[in-house]
């Protein structure tokens, strides 16, 4: 029989809050984590704002040993391990003495250890390959974050890293869910992380997809669904969830945040309007539709949507797609919000950080505000009533939440979370 899958632990490292309670406080208050970074300006970036979590040396040492931190230069692995360990402990689970063959991880990343790789390349080009030291591989291999986490916790089931651009985090959740549902694991630590800084963000700046209009007003820069949206703001960090079979969670009397009802990942094949960088709308709708079928919910049962909504011209298209697939017009359309207004676009970390925010909403009975959206985009206003995009914190009992992410390569992911009921 297929297993039911619940969420028993959460962890997050975000630009507007490091740790679950700081993050929840920030999202309820509509607090931005976007800042101006002088080094981006010095490097000649058009967009000199972004979101990076602030982590003290002292805090790092609560997660990593001195030896692990020696020559450590991977921001993504740092954030991922912090969020992952937090989620594990939040679930009330122990660090294993022996390998736990029933627990694994799917922890995604877009790149790994870009700073470390840069340092290694300089040494290599200087003909000093023998001077690289022992940690270049561990910090720069794509699966670095899952390898670190697997060792820190003692995971003995599947330990892997997925990568699907900005869909990565949402995909990781679905991959872990599938594994537990199939009975191949009891617990899966799922999530994703992103490196940050100039070497990750430069490529996006070069594509002119980042906003260059808010270098003097960083907190106003990330404007999903706004008429004055002018491109996204790059972010970073990590989000992590402990997924667990309902049986296992009940047996150890764990706190249950919510249930993962189902999900779907697909691709538009870069056909029908889909390209390397733009989504095929038909595929987006198909992905959401199949996620709903998989979860066994109808459009009318969805109380709120946490969108991908990055603050580009594609926001209106996304709303159109949701509307088409849910079959809900006007007032019947659910509430919708975008965390990116506060933390920017966390790239490979986006789906997991946003899912943590979504689950906190379900558990806490609220919908966090969309900031920087006082001037709603006209095309969106023509599709759905203005009050479906809350500008202030709303107290609202929500049962079913749909979360979607879309990424370069024309890839999509949609997951359906439900408030846990016995």
């Amino acid at each position: 029989m297929e297993k039911r899958v619940v969420i028993t632990g959460l962890g997050v490292v975000a630009p507007n809050g490091v740790g679950l309670s700081a993050f929840e406080e920030a999202i309820k208050a509509g607090q931005s984590g976007i800042q101006f970074y002088p080094h981006l300006k010095e490097l000649g970036f058009s967009c000199c704002i972004g979101g990076m979590p602030e982590i003290s040396e002292e805090l790092k040492r609560q997660y990593f040993s001195e030896l692990q931190l020696k020559d450590f230069k991977s921001s993504g692995i740092l954030y991922g391990c912090m969020a992952g360990i937090d989620a594990w402990k939040d679930a009330g689970l122990e660090i294993n003495e022996q390998a736990d063959y029933d627990s694994g991880t799917v922890f995604g990343a877009g790149t790994s250890g870009v700073e470390k790789f840069r340092e290694a390349i300089y040494k290599l080009d200087d003909k000093k390959v023998r001077r690289l030291g022992s940690t270049v591989v561990a910090q720069t291999m794509a699966s670095g974050v899952s390898a670190y986490l697997g060792g820190m916790i003692g995971l003995g089931n599947q330990v892997t890293t997925n990568s699907s651009a900005c869909t990565t985090g949402t995909e990781a959740i679905i991959m872990g869910y599938d594994r537990i549902k199939a009975g191949k694991a009891k617990r899966m630590l799922v999530g994703s992380c992103s490196d940050d800084g100039a070497y990750v963000w430069g490529g996006f700046d070069a594509m002119r997809v980042l906003t260059y209009k808010h270098n003097d007003s960083p907190e106003k820069g990330s404007r999903p669904m706004s008429a004055s949206a002018s491109g996204f703001v790059p972010g970073s960090g990590a989000g992590a969830l402990v997924l667990e079979s309902l049986e296992s969670a009940l047996a150890r009397k764990a706190t249950i945040y919510a249930e993962v009802l189902g999900g779907e990942v697909n691709s538009g094949g870069q056909r029908n309007g889909g390209t390397m960088t733009a989504p095929n709308s038909e595929a987006v709708q198909e992905c959401i539709k199949r996620a709903m079928e998989n979860a066994g919910v109808k459009g009318s049962e969805i109380d709120t949507i946490n969108g991908h909504l990055t603050a580009t011209i594609k926001d209106a298209t996304e709303i159109e797609n949701w509307q088409a697939v849910l079959g809900l017009k006007g007032k019947s359309f659910p509430y919708i919000n975008s965390l990116k207004s506060m933390v920017g676009h966390g790239l490979s970390a986006a789906g997991s950080i946003e899912s943590v925010a979504s689950i906190l909403q379900l558990k806490g009975g609220y919908i966090f505000p969309n900031i920087n959206c006082e001037d709603l985009n006209e095309d969106i206003a023509a599709l759905i009533p203005k009050d479906k995009i809350p500008l202030r914190l709303m107290s609202q009992d929500i049962k079913v939440l749909a979360k979607a992410s879309f990424g370069f390569g024309d890839v999509n992911g949609c997951v359906i979370f439900k408030k846990y009921e016995e």
Binding site: E66, L67, K70, D71, R131, G133, S134, T135
Partner: protein, 86 residues
Amino acid sequence: MSEKETLIKELREIIKPYVQNQEAFKKLSEETHFITDLEINSANLVDIVLDTEDKYDIEIDNESMDKMSDVKSAMGVIQDKIAAKG
């Protein structure tokens, strides 16, 4: 302090960050083995070699590195390389 004692003292400082067994480290002698006694991760032997090179401004070739499995052999390699430097 004899030259040998100084060298052991300096070597202690170099290997300290990589040691996993602190009890064995306290009792460090010439016979102490890096992996079996100090439980140093074998990957970190490379880092110990690099730190040693920096400390004495010497270059330790791959063959010499293979010999550096305990305190005594490491001291031997260091002394040889310093002597070769003239």
